[in-house]
Symmetry: C2
Subunit: 98 residues, 2 copies
DNA sequence: AAAAGTGCTTTGTTTTTCAAAGTTAACCAA
DNA sequence: TTGGTTAACTTTGAAAAACAAAGCACTTTT
């Protein structure tokens, strides 16, 4: 029998990164503070997970302004979409051996 | 908006414990070495994850014999089945906001 | 008697997670 | 202009988790 967990992506072992991605799949763009509130995280914790996702090129950062206030938003990349889908497929395959 | 990751079970953050449970859902009983080979783990690593699942009362251990050789097998408990299902439901709800 | 297998436990290292505090830069109010 | 606030981090350090390797008790096989 084949190892059922081998195709899971290590980056998505984290519930937080999983949550970020699941939000980004349905939101074209989302702000730092929105994510922080949705996932109930501290600044540092969120920032570091976002950094991990950015390093992997699964998300992209947009630094801009709302009026003249700084505003950072995040969006998913094509690679991110693909990796996330692959992970969900692997999860599903693992479970639906039923 | 509600925190989408709040309902995920921390015990199932681990890919290995996720793998064990997904195997136990479809196999009434499975041996230590079978699990070890399927998941490609060292003895110690598998044993400690099994221990975590046992502490949570998500799995049950059966110590017995095959012929005269010792043989330890594991099975899922009702609580384990329920918790695993709840986790999968939470995962699905998180993703299918689509 | 020696080697090998089963199922652990122990030990110790590495990795990951996280909160808290500090930081930089821009805004606004008095 | 001084002081307070918000945004978005970075740094620090501690705690937790993951893991491999080795040891162990017991038994079977050679």
């Amino acid at each position: 029998m084949k190892n059922p967990i081998a195709d899971l992506n290590k980056i998505f072992d984290s519930r937080i990164r999983l949550g970020v991605m699941s939000i980004l799949v349905v939101n074209d763009e989302i702000g730092f503070n929105d994510l922080k509130q949705m996932l109930e995280l501290t600044d540092g914790n969120l920032a570091s997970h976002l950094n991990t996702l950015e390093q992997a090129e699964f998300i992209k950062v947009h630094k801009g302004f709302i009026g003249r206030k700084t505003s950072t938003t995040y969006s998913i990349t094509a690679l991110g979409k693909q990796a996330f889908k692959a992970h969900l497929d692997a999860l599903e395959k693992m479970i639906r051996k039923l």
